[in-house]
Symmetry: C2
Subunit: 192 residues, 2 copies
């Protein structure tokens, strides 16, 4: 999709590490495709505590639900590193969906997978204890990795994905480190 957008002269914008792509509580104007880089989508509560709603990388896109529902964004979206973005406005986006059957199918599949993740995490946050939450989250994240590969997330990020505090995540990971499908080397997590 990105290739198609580039071939058709869509404009890319550069966001420096830490720059905000959009703010919560504003009306959406575009869908954002990541040409290169990484982005995090976070909701922030009154006390400034972040919850990571999603992490997006090169080739992925975000921001469609609010655009399609014509509702204000729930989350802030921030470049986690220097990132190139192609913004596609509503008209263009709807046109892409109409004219490219494969893209609308891709979107449906992408949304399915996000729904799956969110349903899983909702169950965890609603009903499960800290250890269980971390175990489920880690197993899910490790699923994407090759054996021996490192899970490049800090304890703080895992806390912000699971609704726990850093200290709790640190203690949970320590406790889980035997019986799990990861190993701990100098505090880092590697898939077994």
């Amino acid at each position: 999709m990105i290739k198609y957008l580039l071939d058709n002269h869509y404009k890319t914008t550069m966001y420096k590490k830490g720059e905000v792509i959009y703010h919560a509580h504003t009306m959406p104007r575009s869908v954002y495709f990541i040409k290169s880089g990484r982005v995090r989508m976070v909701t922030v509560n009154d006390e400034g505590k972040e919850f990571i709603q999603g992490l997006f990388k090169t080739g992925e896109y975000f921001g469609e639900p609010a655009l399609l529902l014509n509702k204000k964004y729930l989350a802030d979206t921030i470049a986690t590193q220097d990132t190139e973005i192609i913004a596609v406005n509503r008209t263009q986006f709807l046109q892409l969906l109409e004219e490219h059957r494969e893209f609308s199918m891709d979107l449906i599949r992408t949304m399915s997978s996000r729904l799956f993740y969110k349903s899983m995490m909702l169950e965890e946050l609603a009903n499960e204890q800290a250890d269980h939450r971390i175990s489920t989250l880690l197993n899910y994240l490790l699923g994407d990795l090759q054996p021996g590969e490192e899970l490049k997330l800090t304890r703080q990020q895992l806390a912000d994905m699971s609704g726990l505090r850093v200290e709790t995540v640190i203690r949970a990971i320590k406790k889980l480190s035997d019986q799990q499908q990861f190993k701990l080397i100098k505090g880092k997590l590697f898939k077994k």
Copy 2:
């Protein structure tokens, strides 16, 4: 969509109140369209505590994400009252998506709205106190109602949607009942 399915001789199945349409941890075979009735989608943890992932009524459909991702269901789906269901298998479903542009757009919008709801609830469960959670949930649910209309959900159901216990929901609703956009009459909730 339902009309189209009926016109094309898709078979409807009757589920009595309390009957299970599908179980968590089984492989999906179909997408389910509700011809009439109501259905709840719940995840259940080891201690038997339920979390309501979704409530579906006449005209709505459910079960697509697992089918499209070819992953086991996360939740059980149960008829909340006598319900008529049209089960559409994978091939038929993919065919519907290909041949009916409007339907694939409807699905995208439906999924957007479910994602929106789940993102909202995740933020609440991760970061907010009981009163805030209930307030957000009630305001969201009241949004669909006419002024004066009753919100037909028990405290237990609200608890199962917000990850709280009944007693906590009861106390929260009492505390919120002044400053909110609902009124309490004999324990029932009405939109102002």
